[in-house]
Symmetry: C2
Subunit: 414 residues, 2 copies
């Protein structure tokens, strides 16, 4: 069976806001074995929502509408879906009372417009919304000449997710053919997308039953494998098989086998080695520390560090000799190593990291153009320094450099 | 005139990737006075793209297709649009030669599949793509019983933008009625969305000709005003008028009048006051420094700082007395002030900032629950400390706290 998701709301037709709920819904539908074949975004306009619903009935087995269920004049999804199906709305007196109770329990009086949230499409099942006033609706039957399922869900993401999990998932599972779907994700650091693809394409192309998706960010690549088969075991066996072969091919560039982030993996390794970390950042300006501390519990292995934008602070906070900066420049192999060693000494950490580079757009020179970054990791065993020339803008170069440093830490601990 | 945007590509129907080009295109179309009334996302499937095009002809005056113009078997937009219009594709021999030359200039031989990028829909104008091999196409004429414009654009964002600007914008401007559209954006820090709305709704509701959009993030609110009128002056006058009244009402909570970010505004003020800044962060873990240094040229006013996750480093790098931490706890008004003063002293900066709090999800206590953050700004005039209890998860609390600190710096310098 296939599905489409129709997001309703004029704000998603402005340059400022987009529909993000459909990513969550797509994942949930895929897990049930349902393919999403179309997504539409339509404004708060009765005629246009009706047309979107009619086109959807022509195209898809399952139609999921998101948004437009609130109490205002602009909330038109109920009316529009009813009209597209040729069904009337009926106000549910019990639900009106529950809405009134909800308001009363907070000491408020319900304004009359709220009652429209109790309008139910003929034959629809009401789906209670534990986190908001607008309930969802579920309709299943023959429309436009064949079986369809229509689901109306509220737009706020936390309401949508809770309602989907409590009321929609099992109803759908009972209606769609049993799906035995297995997925695996591998994450790879600091290899180019075309290099990764050229090395692994011969592998995944020989698994014609497995769907492979490759997504590339600044220094990180995700490989998603998905398979359907006659049993859960068979489906899992195939994705594990292709993931295993890809992992053998890419070897230690694969840092994650179960969806963990690079920041989490670095945290695991530091804890496993009973090691602590401190960082001294110049061009990344705190991004590396921010990424490390984005992981809850990172205080167990991350001591802290210095953001040393000025040369004076490179000396004062990380102990880089001023004459070294004069001789080699602040962006140099020597200063990166001195930052790593200095912050390690100052913080008494197992590992020290130093980053210095040219994030741009200004500050580049012929010898050290925008994108040049030196990364250093200092440990008992000595200091490793790697230079890279990253492409892209300031944001991308900083992201690349912090990923490179995280990956150097990981490899040092493996 | 109205428009719709149809993004073509199966990857945008996965849980991993979404269509972001439509935000740029919506902004560009709005500036020409064209309203976007629908957005669709369709996979690489001929029959479904044809159906999307047919539904679009029924709905909209202008259809913008994005993606599906490359050389692979999955690139079907040309064929589908031709079929929906009942028009044939014709291979353009001149364009085939240009493609061959493009490959030859890089020392490559063109594979035969690339030639399909030279297939032109009957009657279409070819739009050269300076940044890629797949050209765009422009079609204007009576289809499905009325005038339509159809534009085919490549999917990679930098190709799309350059091609739109070079080839599409002026062609569209010549076809749509002259639009006199004016916009203004105000940005507001550290006021709640409902508070802002209750204070400014009476103002913007009295400007029924101006479209107002309010967007809320963690600690930042954007107010977008848009107006169409008979002349550019008249349109501008109305948005300036409503923005002026809203600004009077919200007073110094408005930090930006022309779209600048809070990080940029803080940079302007520091430069205007000839001041320098250093920061000592605990719970934000480098996020504040990262946001400040995300602005190019920030080395002119930002010296650096310390990420002091461990108590030892609060003492070693920012000079917080160990006994103060013992007595008041690391998350306290006193330690926040000492961090700000200590880092200011250590870095010899005009202003010093200290942040300490509980970002969660662990670490909360009844007296200091998750979300409690102390923010301090130290200057010649003394040290100001503000406590806040932020809602949300770790990421949101850290974002709130860094925004609060930036806003305190701004207000100190105003």
């Amino acid at each position: 069976m296939n599905a489409e998701i129709i997001a309703v709301g004029s704000e998603m037709l402005t340059p400022y806001r987009m529909d993000t709920n459909s990513l969550y819904l797509t994942e949930q539908l895929n897990l049930l074995g349902v393919e999403v074949i179309f997504k539409g975004i339509v404004g708060d306009n009765l005629r246009r929502i009706v047309a979107a619903a009619q086109h959807g009935l022509f195209r898809s087995d399952i139609l999921v509408f998101v948004g437009g269920l609130g109490p205002t004049e602009d909330d038109l999804t109920r009316e529009a879906v009813g009209e597209a199906l040729g069904l009337k709305l009926q106000r549910d007196p019990g639900m009106v009372r529950r809405l009134e109770d909800r308001f009363a329990s907070r000491g408020w009086k319900m304004t009359p417009n709220n009652a429209k949230q109790a309008d139910v499409i003929e034959g629809a099942t009401v789906l209670p919304n534990a986190n908001g006033t607008a309930p969802g609706q579920w309709l299943c039957g023959e429309f436009d000449g064949r079986e369809h399922i229509l689901v109306l869900l509220p737009g706020p993401p936390h309401e949508l997710k809770a309602l989907f999990e409590a009321e929609v998932r099992e109803r759908l599972r009972a209606k769609v053919p049993p799906a035995f779907l297995a997925t695996r994700t591998l994450k790879v650091a600091m290899l180019g997308e075309s290099l990764v693809d050229s090395r692994v394409a011969p592998i995944y192309k020989s698994f014609s039953d497995v769907e492979t998706t490759i997504l590339a960010g600044a220094g990180e690549i995700e490989l998603h494998f998905k398979n359907r088969a006659g049993t859960q075991d068979a489906a899992q066996r195939r994705v594990d098989e292709v993931a295993g072969l890809v992992e053998d091919e890419l070897d230690d560039a694969v840092y994650s086998r179960n969806g963990e982030s690079l920041e989490q993996i670095v945290g695991y390794w530091l804890q496993m080695r009973n090691a602590t970390l401190a960082v001294a950042e110049s061009c990344t300006g705190g991004l590396l520390a921010e990424r490390i501390t984005s992981v809850s519990g990172s205080s167990r292995y991350f001591l802290g560090g210095a953001v040393v934008y000025s040369n004076q602070l490179k000396t004062d906070l990380a102990g880089v000799p001023a004459e070294m900066i004069d001789r080699h420049g602040a962006v140099s192999r020597e200063v990166a190593a001195a930052l790593a060693e200095g912050i390690r000494y100052r913080c008494e950490s197992t590992l020290g990291v130093g980053i210095t580079g040219v994030a741009g757009p200004g500050g580049g020179t012929p010898e050290k153009p925008v994108g040049v970054v030196f990364h250093a990791v200092a440990s008992d065993g000595g200091t490793e320094v790697l230079q890279r020339n990253f492409p892209g803008d300031r944001k991308r170069i900083r992201r690349f450099a912090s990923t490179m440093a995280l990956d150097m830490i990981r490899k040092k601990l493996m």
